[in-house]
Amino acid sequence: MSTEAIHADHDHHHAPSGIGRWLFSTNHKDIGTMYLIFSLVMLFLGGASAMMLRAELFTPGLQILDPDTYNNLLTNHALIMVFGVVMPAAAGMANWMIPMMIGAPDMALPRLNNLSFWILPFAAIMLIISMIAPYFPGGGTPINTGWTLYPPLSVQVGMGMDFAIFTVHLLGISSILAAINIITTIVNMRAPGMTYFKLPLFVWSWLLTALLLIMIMPVLAGGVTMLLFDRHFGTAFFDAAGGGDPVLFQHLFWFFGHPEVYVLLLPSIGILGMVVPTFSRKPLFAYKPLVYSMMMLTALGMVVWAHHQYTVGMSEAVTTYFMIGTILISIPVGYMLFSFIFTMWRGAMTFETPMLFAVAIVLMFSFAGVTGVMLAVVPADLQYHDTYFVVAHFHYALIPGSLFGIYAGVFYWLPKWTGHMYNETHGKIFFWWTTISFNLTFFVQHFSGLAGMPRRIVDYSPIFAEFNMISSIGAFSFGASHLLFLYIIIKTVKGGEKASDKPWEGAQVGTPGLEWTLPSPPPFHSFTTPPAIK
């Protein structure tokens, strides 16, 4: 991305030249760009591991992977997708957009910002070491626990687990520092007159996401630290013989893990809040209640974690509480979706790529919500637990709910970031290609799951052969579609039709933020003095 040409009118703020511009950056846009590139690289890594899993599952029996390697790849697939793709992409967008939206010159703590980013590549290296260490002498057994890292298995596996534990620490540090920075930016750096209820929805969504991160990342850090102690220092936290409890780890993990899904979801909801009004040419329907419902989601999200543990033998009173709490969450989520639907209602809608993604998200994420309520019901979950029904459910939640939201954001803001319009036809082809193959991959897994196919296992009964073949074909197609995605991005960065300051016929309405008052691409430092808010 070449911003060199634009800084001329900003006397003392030059973009530094050379590699130092990136390595030592204190610029929110450059750091945002690095986040986004990192996330894209990890998307292909996480995707490649998913392709290998699906290749193995193409037919029953063992083909290319041995069981431990399958589980190792599975663990890494999930960790990479969650911590390496979705969170960095959302953080990259926060970096790019929040200062511009609220009229700030940069993030509140620019050096800390760069630290948050640079920890990530190192964490990725450590994660990869954790994956390959078992294949060297003395490395012990691979991490075959899945991303939930449950003991006692995680106490027994080889030194890869130690690397995984410290990967989690690195990721935790990075997320907490980023969250601190984002909250401080939003609270402290808003231009005069940018009151809380004028904030674009994306900013609100990140304020709540950052709050969640500050509350949950330390809990995960504490949990894996105790795991490390059990592994090496003879403590008994997760061993009943010494008075501990493996279920305690599950509580710690899911106290982090459930709010984590809102960390993955909320930024995308924020992006929808920007995209849907633009292409409906109507202000966001019921902005304030939508903000309140996001707050309710954040609060409720903190107190429902044990719906992942219905089968471990908690008392009836406890499971009932967690069931009711979980079902209550459908209220704010449903509210959000209705807000978007009513924004579209009688709008002058057009369907450019970001809007196509937005509409698809509303439909497919609702579907994940429906299977989610099914899973929340204790007696039903006792049947569905640890089957492919769950795999289907959370991929419907995570791919539309987070990944597609991010794609919508990418297509929506790419013109602003690069100064070029992407090729709309290519964008639309990409949308249909991914969406169809995504559904092909995961829809059938509802059926194999309901029929009893267990998750996290390398082999399956031949009666599930057809379902799995369809799934694998869909997955390969889904993977291939991302080559087009890569091509579109590279092509748009390199050139293309010049984007105006306000692309899409200037249709940004409601609370669009100040990013559209800047040129596309924006100058190296967005605002050097506080802008005036009308």
Binding site: G20, L115, L170, M189, G223, L228, V247
Partner: protein
């Protein structure tokens, strides 16, 4: 010191510290893993990481101090720092809440269940006849553990440490009060006393650990009581150490006259941290030693 007006934004120059910081943390943790798995290179890599960490803090905070003294910061930067520190301490609060939560869970759910309470009555299946009392010196199955002979009481050293740490909160407030009146002499005195109390606390804690290991057989390996005891007191002790080091830096800066009644964010940040460590200790004293 606000020489730059609030109308102009302040953004630091590009800096190499963040990248060095990321590499440092990676090196440190990488070394720890190797050390834990008995690789000879482990401790050396760890040491290199630790040295780099010291270098990093000196360099990074050195830059910040220089910028501050040269008057580049405006009021907005100052409140960014304050808010940043506030949220950092909030995350630390959640870190400790995790461990307190575990203690609660183990004492009120896990151990009673193991003792046969509740509809699951686990002990009838697993370890018949094991009964639960806190602290559980006798373990359900001690094969992999060394049972402790006795539990740590609330009297003696822990009580002294409570008094010491609470007084150190007081002396720090005295220093703050002096700072607000631009009385540098009392500021230095107050800080020095606080550090002294912190060091005494640290020494007493070490003596207590030594006693527990040597005479009470209370170790990390004595089952869940030893595990939670050392987890909570250990992480607290670590935070006291970090806090004391930060206080020493602040003392050094106070002696160089870096602070004034209207520019002393660093002092306040460290003071908040110290008070936070103080409050954690009170929780610890009540829940770990006393009840």
């Amino acid at each position: 010191m606000t020489t730059t007006s609030n109308d102009d934004y302040y953004i630091p120059e590009p800096s190499r510290w963040p990248l060095i910081g990321a590499a440092t943390v990676f090196t440190l943790l990488f070394g720890v893993v190797l050390w834990l798995n008995s690789w000879v290179a482990g401790p050396w890599i760890m040491l290199a990481g630790a040295a780099s960490l010291a270098f990093l803090f000196k360099g990074w905070f050195g830059d910040v101090i220089k910028e501050n003294l040269s008057g580049s910061y405006n009021g907005q930067v100052d409140s960014s720092f304050r808010q940043g520190m506030f949220w950092f301490i909030t995350s630390e609060v959640f870190f400790f809440l995790t461990f307190f939560g575990c203690l609660y869970y183990l004492r009120n759910i896990t151990l009673p269940y193991l003792g046969g309470e509740g509809y699951l009555a686990t002990s009838n299946i697993l370890w018949e006849g094991w009964t639960y009392t806190w602290p559980p010196l006798q373990l359900p199955d001690a094969t992999n553990y060394v049972e402790a002979k006795e539990a740590m009481g609330p009297g003696g050293i822990p009580l002294w440490n409570t008094i010491i740490l609470l007084s150190s909160g007081g002396t720090l407030t005295w220093a703050h009060w002096a700072l607000k009146k631009d009385d540098n002499k009392q500021l230095v005195l107050g800080l020095a006393t606080t550090i002294l109390l912190g060091v005494i606390f640290f020494i007493l804690q070490a003596v207590e650990y030594g006693h527990a290991y040597a005479e009470m057989d209370l170790t990390l390996e004595s089952g869940i009581y030893g595990s939670t005891f050392y987890l909570l007191t250990g992480f607290h002790g670590f935070h006291v150490t970090v806090g004391a080091i930060m206080l020493m830096v602040i003392l050094g800066r106070a002696m160089k006259n870096h602070f004034s009644s209207h520019n002393h964010f660093a002092f306040e940040a460290v003071a908040w941290y110290w008070h936070f460590v103080d409050v954690v200790w009170i929780g610890l004293y009540i829940l770990v030693y006393w009840l």
